[in-house]
């Protein structure tokens, strides 16, 4: 059964230095508040996993929390580059960043295998690309019935997965809707899971396109209203496209970035 905790407690209990951590949310429902709490608690040497690193991982990488990144698309959607991600890969600042790179189809299937308790997934993908030459976690597998050669990718089983959802009930059952991406798979694939929510309610009225995570499949639920900003939470907020565009200038320069993080993230709680 999921425990209802504060965000600070949840991150302190579930995220350790050196962990493999997945913060998922496909453009929608990105758990920014949880990412900021990880920065405030100064976690280090994390292996960050995420299909679309987005601004949230640009911040974690720029603040030196990450040792390694497993991903499939590292950009600022509709804007351009993630400058902190680029600086880490191109110049090793603030620390060298090891990368393991896949396609979306491969990453999605790696989470599916993880959620299914299988060691690998099969897809028809990467064919002819240079990704297969540079990424060790892409291998051929042969169909035992037809002899066709397909692509295998290993399961992703994060130590902890963190996602943001619209709401939970007091028993810890979680409900999300709209674009729910790969969050169900990411939570079920993980050893531990934390879900931040906009609100905690008495009962969860069914909603079209909903995904429900039963309380017994989640470790902890934390109330974090607005916890997806500058991403959005359908029914609660809209995507702050202006912030995503302004991030380009904020993140381009190391000092500007560090100053912004100090003011808006580290300084956002008195205990830092």
């Amino acid at each position: 059964m999921a425990e209802i905790v504060s965000l600070a407690e949840g991150v302190a209990e579930l995220v350790n230095d050196g962990d493999t951590v997945a913060l998922e949310g496909f453009t929608h429902l990105i758990p920014f508040a949880a990412g900021h709490e990880i920065v405030r608690q100064r976690r280090r040497d994390l292996e960050l996993v995420r299909m679309t690193p987005d601004v949230i991982y640009d911040q974690l990488i720029g603040m030196g929390c990450a040792r390694r990144l497993v991903f499939s698309w590292g950009g600022n959607p509709g804007v351009g580059s993630l400058h902190r991600f680029r600086d880490a890969v191109e110049h090793g600042w603030p620390a060298p960043l090891e990368i393991e790179e896949h396609s979306h189809a491969g990453m999605a299937n790696r989470y599916v295998a993880g959620a299914s308790g299988l060691p690998f997934a099969v897809l028809s993908g990467y064919t002819g690309t240079d990704l297969a030459r540079h990424t060790a976690t892409i291998k051929p597998v042969t169909c035992p019935f037809t002899g066709d050669v397909l692509t295998a990718v290993p399961a992703l089983n994060p130590d902890v997965t963190i996602v943001h959802a619209q709401r939970a009930d007091r028993a810890g059952n979680v409900q999300m809707w709209g674009i729910t991406g790969v969050q169900k798979e990411a939570v079920l694939a993980a050893r531990r899971s934390l879900v931040t929510v906009e609100e905690i309610v008495d009962s969860l009225a069914p909603v079209p396109t909903q995904v429900v995570l039963p309380t017994w499949a989640v470790n902890a639920v934390a109330l974090a209203p607005g916890g997806s900003h500058p991403s959005y939470t359908q029914g609660y907020s809209v995507r702050d496209n202006t912030f995503y565009q302004s991030w380009d200038a904020i993140s381009r320069d190391r000092d500007t970035f560090t100053g912004w993080m100090r003011q808006h993230v580290l300084g956002a709680r008195r205990d830092t």
Partner: protein
């Protein structure tokens, strides 16, 4: 409304490639702009599929990301990301894959990963693959939209993120790729298409005002010109006004991104 920008011409020429009633897997940025223009003009029945899991999205403004709320709100169905790739893209159900890119080569291979240096230590690190490798492999055909320059149109891409025709005729067949590959590349200067026998990209159309010399100067390989080179029909007033209205109604600057 007889004056327009090269970007507008490019977007309109790309939109014209999308037939009504077909399904189109849409990358963000230029492809999304052109696909939504097509829906708003000659192809109201165009089915837009976004990798965020939105099937049949009908946005009335341009989304900035492939996961904007407007896409889910207007979709016929919203499915999970594993499902959109496994059940919808992978089996080859989707007619057109619509991609942009940072680098394109003579045989239609696309690079969105890294430019210069070595993969482990690149000069310029790009966002990466996203859904593109499987879109390029599995859609019945691929349409590419990219601004043309010697820096972006190269003899051989530094990194093959999305496979076009590899090193030429026969490579896709040898690899058993489902789709037909890049059938048309729309640029700000004209249109390139693969030579039926060699699969090399050849200039088949020039946009009004553009010249063969400009196109050659903006291409990193010895660009061949089709014998029946034709000129793209200039943007119609309605095409231009709808495009400008779409962009005005959106936060999107249409900048390159293939999320």
């Amino acid at each position: 409304m007889s004056n327009w920008t090269a970007d507008e011409m490019m977007t309109i020429a790309a939109a014209r490639q999308l037939r009504d009633g077909t399904s189109c897997f849409v990358g963000i940025g230029l492809p999304s702009t052109a696909a939504n223009l097509a829906r708003a003009t000659h192809a109201p029945g165009l089915v837009l599929i976004y990798e965020s899991g939105c099937l049949g999205a009908k946005p009335d403004r341009l989304p900035l990301s492939i996961g904007d709320g407007i896409l889910a709100d207007t979709a016929d169905a919203v499915v999970s990301v594993p499902e959109v790739f496994n059940y919808w893209l992978q089996p080859g159900r989707i007619d057109i894959g619509f991609l942009g890119g940072a680098q394109l080569d003579r045989y239609g291979n696309i690079n969105t990963t890294a430019i210069g240096g070595d993969y482990r230590d690149p000069k310029v690190r790009l966002p990466g693959a996203g859904g593109a490798p499987e879109i390029a492999a599995s859609c019945r055909e691929v349409v590419v939209i990219m601004r043309q320059s010697r820096r972006t149109f190269v003899e051989r891409v530094d990194f093959v993120t999305s496979f076009g025709y590899g090193t030429g005729a026969g490579d896709r067949e040898r690899l058993g790729l489902r789709g037909a590959g890049p059938q048309v590349v729309i640029t700000d200067l004209g249109i390139l298409q693969p030579d039926p026998s060699t699969r090399e990209l050849v200039l088949t159309r020039l946009h009004p005002g553009a010249t063969v010399e400009q196109a050659r100067a903006a291409t990193g390989w010895r660009l061949r010109v089709a014998d029946d080179l034709r000129t793209t029909e200039q943007p119609g007033d309605s095409e231009l006004s709808v495009l400008r209205a779409l962009k005005a109604a959106s936060a999107d600057d249409g900048s390159a991104s293939t999320a």
